[in-house]
């Protein structure tokens, strides 16, 4: 079976799984809604383009007046669904579920890339300090009551990306960035930022609860605008990573070999690191630090689909989405809301240990 066929098959299969998990999850909550009803609501909500009409006109410089193509949508299914159920699913549960899916997608993607990049099984998306950076930005915003454009998320995102960049600079010398140095610089910076966060916590006073909740990783209170933001940010970096999947495969042989096989090693590393960091930062800035998704999911999928990133990357991303939707469903369906980071760690760590003990997990 060719790589392309395998990638397509796995992607379609895991997309199906994701859809299934979403439908089931959307039915779970204080009010139980049967999966058939959820499916009907979702089908109704998806606008389906049926044609293009040329209406109006747009004036473009140099070209002049051009008719604007407009897509026409209809919702072909007019299922009869109780209004409350429709509102619960579309306005309450779906934003959270989709945000979980996107965050899981992002973390698993970044985790896969980082594990390959570092050739280290313990690498996870936050290895270069992205999560700690985001946490500092977010906690500082909460504790110091800063008002910044784009608020909490913006501060977290910016501080996350800046942290990754600083780690990269610290580890670089003469245009080369040895991954071992990068790893150590990441650990050092994470430790330092951990101290900053602890200090900020001491100063937090009233906002302590909010800060701790953020730090534990959360998807509660997800809004459609957060979903939109992630949905807008993620596709481009993901495509960039997918296009470089083959280079990532060759990088797994070691940098010396990769260079001998025609990879511009340092440039490729920069690109992979920057892209994976942006993906992680985007996820962490809306959801806080959710551990283990980016560590465990790529390992599981590597067992299933093998090490080839052309298959592994999309498969891992989609599985990560399903995993986080499922764990978040557990997190919100109990009596009291548990931060999802607690659930992923509680589920992920034992499973990872199981893999470790059965020697299924190997050093990448």
């Amino acid at each position: 079976m060719s790589v392309r066929t395998r990638a397509t098959t796995w992607s379609l299969g895991l997309s199906g799984l994701l859809l299934l998990v979403v439908v089931v999850s959307a039915g779970i909550g204080a009010v139980t809604i049967p999966p058939r009803t959820v499916a009907a609501i979702l089908a109704d909500a998806v606008p389906i383009p049926v044609g293009v009409s040329l209406g109006g006109a747009t004036v473009l410089p140099l070209v002049g007046s051009v008719p604007t193509p407009t897509l026409e949508f209809v919702s072909p299914f007019a299922f009869s669904v109780p209004r409350p159920a429709r509102i619960i699913v579309l306005s309450v549960r779906l934003p959270r579920i989709l945000l979980a899916a996107l965050v899981g997608f992002a973390l698993a993607t970044a985790g896969t890339v980082m594990q390959g990049f570092f050739r280290n099984p313990m690498a996870d998306p936050s290895i270069v300090g992205v999560s700690s950076g985001a946490a500092v930005g977010a906690v500082a915003t909460i504790v110091l009551s800063l008002s910044i454009p784009f608020g909490l998320e913006g501060a977290a995102f910016v501080s996350a990306v800046v942290t990754a960049f600083v780690v990269y600079l610290l580890a670089s010398e003469n245009g080369r960035t040895p991954v071992a140095t990068l790893l150590l610089a990441g650990v050092a910076i994470q430790t330092f930022l951990g101290a900053v966060i602890s200090f900020l916590l001491l100063q937090s006073g009233e906002s302590l609860r909010q800060v701790v909740f953020w730090l534990m990783g959360h998807l509660a209170g997800a809004t459609w605008s957060e979903v939109g933001m992630l949905a807008l940010v993620l596709p481009l970096p993901f495509v960039v990573l997918l296009v470089h999947a083959r280079d990532l495969n060759v990088l797994l042989l070691g940098e010396e070999d990769a260079h001998a096989l025609g990879i511009e090693v340092e440039r490729t590393k920069q690109l992979l690191l920057a892209t994976a960091s942006v993906v992680t930062a985007a996820a962490v800035s809306v959801s806080g630090v959710i551990g283990f998704v980016g560590l465990v999911v790529p390992h599981m999928l590597r067992l299933l689909v093998g090490p080839d990133h052309r298959v592994l990357l999309p498969a891992s991303a989609l599985a990560g989405a399903s995993f986080l939707v499922a764990t978040d469903t557990v997190a919100r369906s109990g009596g009291a809301e548990i931060p999802v980071g607690v659930v992923t760690a509680a589920v992920g760590a034992p499973f990872f240990l199981y893999l470790l003990r059965t020697r299924e997990v190997r050093s990448p």
Binding site: S2, V250, H259, G262, E264
Partner: protein, 485 residues
């Protein structure tokens, strides 16, 4: 030698090509290193290295650890840029090219590779096509053809679907060569291709490279094993301290003088009796003679044990005379003994007997092993009879191992009268006792020459004797004629 001295650099294997294919004599060699210098971390690793390698040549890169072999290979494939000088591969400056373009000219087989993700073997070989594929190119017919061909040549087809982490070391080496072949480059670099392989796979690997070279590939391999390098390579480059100490025909490069200078080790260079290649035998550092000097008369393996025991006990050793190729002769070389040899199947002639006598005289103790005695080696026993302190190792009665008739008995009787007869297990203690006696006598007699006789020059003396067996003239101490053939 004059062929190699084109301009300031060294020209390896390019002569024939330039004469045939290029009437003007300035065709681009496969590899041209021009005055390449490189420092890493403030240490000069390569120092003004210049060498030309002709197309279709197999060049072996030899030298001690830290001589710059791997660095030179990394400079050749573009991984390291030289501080000064240039590296041209088929006329192109590899450091001016993109990594991709350079990888279409030079393929590298690494010494070790961190293939820890369990890619199937075929996937690893397919990665060799990376330099030929654009980012959005699909997989083409010629990619498949190149991979199939590479896997066929290296005989790894049967492993295609096995994870590369699960094949043996020898198989993995072949997979890596296949990956390099899939790059379809004119130049192939190999870093210690035989380092972790058993002897069978060492030979198979180098045979494979030789076949590729016969088909026009230019190969440069860093090789630790001097004898493998001498046997398989068309030319050798001996690096020492970042400089080319010698380059050219293996027989010319592997001289005892060069080896001493580069490796700081004593070695004997001879011709391998089977393959006819230059053959290097390294000797252990010469003993400081603190324990005394022992001459061993053996043959047919009877003396090997004594040689090893005495060597381990720290005695400076001499041995002989022995036929070239005798088990004991090999043992003597291994322990660095000052060896007197005669050609295979030849009797110990007068010259050899004189050489043995001089060593017996120099020795504190002479040991006669449980050797079989015939007319050919009776002279050894005669020489031993002159020893001041003599030890006879007896495992069998002499009558069972005497093929020299009454003469044999007569000589051996003389030995028995003068010597101490021991069982093999008592040899060391008796020799130790006698050596002490010798030292005491020497001190008492004020004879201070003993130390002077066994300085660092002793191994040279042994080496010269070994060389001289080629032209049957014991005592000839010039090394130059070794390569006259």
């Amino acid at each position: 030698m004059s062929d190699f001295d084109r301009s300031s650099g060294t020209d390896l294997g390019a002569d024939a090509d330039s004469a045939d294919s290029d009437p003007f004599g300035d065709a681009d060699p496969a590899i041209r290193l021009d005055d390449v210098s490189l420092s890493l971390g403030g240490h000069s690793i390569l120092d003004a290295v210049s060498v030309d390698v002709g197309e279709g040549t197999f060049v072996g890169l030899i030298g001690p650890n830290g001589a710059g072999k791997t660095t030179l290979l990394r400079t050749l494939n573009g991984a390291l840029a030289p501080d000064e000088g240039s590296v041209r591969v088929v006329g192109e400056d590899v450091h001016a090219l993109s990594s991709k373009a350079a990888s279409r000219l030079v393929a590298t087989v690494p010494q070790t590779t961190s293939v820890t993700f369990d890619f199937p073997v075929r996937d690893v070989v397919e990665m060799g096509r990376t330099p030929h594929r654009g980012r959005f190119d699909g997989w083409r017919e010629r990619d498949t053809a190149a991979v199939d061909d590479a896997m066929r040549r290296t005989a790894v087809e049967s492993l295609a679907d096995r994870p590369v982490t699960e094949v043996s070391g020898g198989e993995r080496q072949r997979v890596l060569i296949a990956r390099a072949l899939a790059q379809e480059t004119p130049v192939l670099l190999l870093d210690e291709p035989t380092a972790s392989l058993d002897i069978n796979h060492q030979v198979r690997t180098l045979e494979l490279v030789s076949d590729l070279v016969a088909d026009g590939t230019t190969a440069v391999a860093a090789i630790h094993d001097l004898n493998l390098a001498a046997h398989y390579c068309d030319a050798l480059v001996l690096l020492s301290g970042g400089r080319i100490l010698s380059a050219g025909d293996p027989a010319a490069v592997l001289s005892e003088e060069h080896l001493r200078e580069a490796f700081d080790a004593e070695a004997v260079v001879s011709r391998h009796p089977v393959t006819g290649s230059v053959y290097v035998t390294a000797l252990p550092p010469s003993s400081d003679d603190a324990n005394g000097r022992v001459h061993v008369v053996g043959g047919g393996g009877t003396g090997a044990r004594a040689l090893h025991l005495l060597s381990a006990a720290g005695y400076a050793l001499s041995a002989g005379a022995l036929n070239e190729g005798d088990t004991d002769a090999e043992a003597a070389r291994r322990v660095g003994a000052d060896l007197v040899t005669v050609p295979p199947y030849s009797p110990v002639d007068d010259a050899a007997r004189a050489a043995v006598e001089s060593r017996v005289e120099a020795a504190d103790v002479t040991v006669v092993a449980d050797v079989e005695v015939g007319d050919g080696n009776l002279a050894n026993l005669g020489a031993a009879a002159e020893a001041d302190r003599l030890v006879l190792v007896e495992e069998r009665p002499f009558s069972e191992r005497n093929y020299a008739g009454d003469d044999g008995f007569a000589v051996y009787e003389r030995l028995r009268e003068r010597g101490t007869i021991v069982e093999p297990g008592d040899l060391l203690s008796v020799v130790g006792e006698l050596a002490c006696d010798s030292f005491r006598e020497r001190d008492a007699g004020g004879d201070g020459t003993g130390d002077g006789e066994t300085g660092p020059g002793d191994a040279d003396a042994g080496a010269n004797d070994a060389e001289s067996t080629h032209d049957d003239a014991v005592g000839d101490d010039t090394a130059a004629d070794l390569f006259s053939d």
